[in-house]
Symmetry: C2
Subunit: 195 residues, 2 copies
């Protein structure tokens, strides 16, 4: 299928794995399938990834990092802390909701992957709350927010909005009225945050 003459890199294997996962789903995607898609033997794949689990986790990490990077742009933006906080939460919700609604099967695939991923998800969540902490810290410094412990507050905000980013709730993101519910929660949290 793919040009078998290029050198085999971790990157090419990850791309092929994404494609195989997209086609076959998480239950039926095998290392043999990935190798076949690349025109190599499956032994070669094991030269770059110690186990199938490690390969899947690397794919997961790439996928999660793409979201982190988009959100980092908002953190570094130049609006007021309130604006950036609202924009950040809305962007996170919108990104997830779009993925879940646009291609439910692929989203389900990645939900399975994140569930089995040991550390990748934990690191991703730590990364996101650290971004949130930055925004809240900025707000405190500017005198717009009250938060004795910005990191703890960031965790609280992240957890309180869980219903709008946790994949477990994906089914409800398509129902009418979610927008309003999201706004209600964010408004309530911001009222608690603003001085």
């Amino acid at each position: 299928m793919a040009p078998p003459t290029e050198t085999l890199t971790a990157e090419r294997i990850l791309e092929a794995t994404e494609e195989v996962l997209r086609r076959h789903g998480p239950a039926k995607a095998t290392v043999v399938d990935v190798a076949r898609a690349l025109g190599v033997s499956h032994g070669s794949v094991y030269r770059h990834f110690r186990t199938k689990a490690a390969l899947r986790e690397a794919v997961t990490k790439r996928w999660l990092d793409r979201t982190s990077e988009k959100l980092a742009v908002i953190v570094a933006g130049d609006g007021t802390p309130e604006d950036r906080l609202r924009a950040w939460l809305a962007a996170l919700f919108e990104a997830k909701r779009h993925k879940a609604g646009d291609d439910p099967e692929l989203f389900a695939t990645y939900t399975v992957l994140t569930d089995e991923s040991g550390t990748a998800v934990g690191e991703h969540l730590a990364d996101l709350t650290s971004q949130l902490t930055r925004i809240i810290q900025d707000g405190v410094t500017a005198g717009a927010f009250t938060a004795p412990d910005p990191a703890a507050t960031a965790r609280a905000v992240f957890q309180a909005t869980g219903r709008f980013h946790d994949p477990g709730y994906a089914r409800e993101w398509q129902q009418p009225g979610v927008e309003e519910e999201f706004t209600a929660v964010v408004d309530l949290l911001l009222r608690g945050l603003l001085t």
Copy 2:
């Protein structure tokens, strides 16, 4: 096993079903098992419940209603709205956490039941948010809370605290630091609610 001479009532069937579920788990609990525990034929069970699903849902409803009733006592209590809101949320969290930690298998069983239950869970959630609405409405009337739409605010509070009552998060309720996280979220929400 059970006295086969008493008259067969829906209530006795529900008790036997709970016991069978506790013993065998949700996957292996059959209507035949329930009938055997009662010393009757399985046809008799179908005289009181149209289907196995209806029987399971009735058991689920009973279980959920027990929680609702405990919380209703707090709603009707005589503390300040803030105290009652804090107590209500803490009681909900504590009840769930206790059940999940005390007998994880039974909790897993009921998690499966609630997942398959069509309307019982929806009604339970509606009941809980209606209790919350009552407390918040009281707070608004007393001038302690600001909430243009108490019902919408109740939903927001309920959803924002989902991590501390949604069974999907049960695993994390046992980890150290959850208490603090719960307090952080509730404090933030109350700051947003108080005038």
